[in-house]
């Protein structure tokens, strides 16, 4: 955006009425652009977690970071969401869950061709290898830190806004 000095310089070169008209039109365009960006920029997360307390904490963090979140209670529910055509900007998946584990779900999601950022999460450090082999992008140990989550979401939001 032009600086105040640049606007001042422009104001001195064109008639006042014309200048005011231009400025108000520019303001409308900028506001609309910002509004559109704000509407489109909220990242959509899928939380795949069977432990209620962990789910509640992660949802609270995501809410604080203005992230929309959907919950799947196990790997199978997560895969079913993708099969239904749902899309997400980021997936946070626990490792050990009933019906289908996190790494199993990640492998199936990748096999579908989904390019979504996938974060494997576990209190078990041994889970990292399983997640990365399955196709996860990142592994985070539990409990997750808000700052780590924030920087991850910022990265996702920037990529989303750049491709918008």
């Amino acid at each position: 955006m032009a600086s105040d000095a640049a606007f001042q310089e422009a104001a001195e070169c064109i008639p006042r009425k014309t200048y005011r008209s231009i400025i108000s039109q520019v303001k409308v365009v900028v506001c609309f652009s910002m509004a559109s960006k704000n509407q489109g920029s909220a990242p959509r997360a899928l939380v795949v977690e069977d432990i209620k307390v962990d789910c509640v904490i992660l949802l609270r963090m995501l809410h604080k970071l203005n992230c929309e979140a959907t919950v799947a209670n196990n790997g199978k529910e997560a895969v079913d969401l993708f099969l239904q055509g749902k899309t997400f900007d980021i997936v946070f998946s626990d490792k050990d869950m009933p019906l289908m584990t996190g790494p199993e779900a990640v492998a199936k999601i990748r096999a579908m061709g989904a390019k979504v950022k996938i974060v494997g999460v576990s209190a078990d450090f041994g889970g990292m290898e399983a997640f990365m082999q399955a196709g996860a992008d990142v592994f985070l140990p539990k409990p997750m830190k808000l700052e780590t989550l924030e920087s991850m979401l910022q990265e996702v939001t920037s990529k989303k806004n750049m491709s918008a």
Binding site: I51, K52, V53, D54, V56, I57, R60, M61, H63, K64, D96, S122, A123, D124, K142, P143, K145, L146
Partner: protein
């Protein structure tokens, strides 16, 4: 009792829980998530969920360890779950006792596991009592406002 006195009691309780290592910075993070977001019941919800879950897991562990042939994989899975949720709420002492418990599971040491369960149970009951006092004080403070 006046709100200020109740608040002082609550602060003293929380300070002692941190000082004794009963809770760690993860519990502070939960408190921040509540305070920053204007969601007054968040910590209460999390603490209640954790206590209900831990109670259930401890009962399951006791039943498993009473079996003539102990399924150590199942025991380990439950202890892992308890370790995870205790880490998530900042229940540091419970988490550490779970770490020791897991080692005994991996060694398939039944007597050791039974003793470890007793330690975990005691630590959890201590923590639960403190959490209950904390929630009662918070309710009393809210009632005064």
């Amino acid at each position: 009792m006046a709100a200020a006195a109740l608040r002082e009691q609550l602060n003293t309780l929380l300070s002692s829980m941190f000082a004794s290592g009963m809770v760690d910075e993860q519990f502070q993070q939960l408190q921040m998530l509540q305070d920053d977001g204007g969601t007054p019941g968040f910590v209460a919800e999390v603490v209640t969920l954790f206590c209900d879950d831990a109670d259930r897991i401890i009962s399951e562990l006791a039943a498993l360890l009473e079996q003539p042939a102990v399924d150590f994989d199942k025991v380990d899975a439950y202890v892992h779950q308890l370790k995870g949720s205790s880490a998530s709420v900042g229940a540091q002492k419970v988490k550490f006792t779970c770490l020791q418990f897991r080692q005994l599971c991996q060694d398939k040491n039944r007597d050791g596991c039974i003793m470890a369960l007793a330690v975990v149970r005691n630590e959890f009951y201590d923590l639960r009592n403190k959490f209950q006092t904390m929630l009662q004080l918070e309710q009393q403070i809210q009632a005064q406002q």
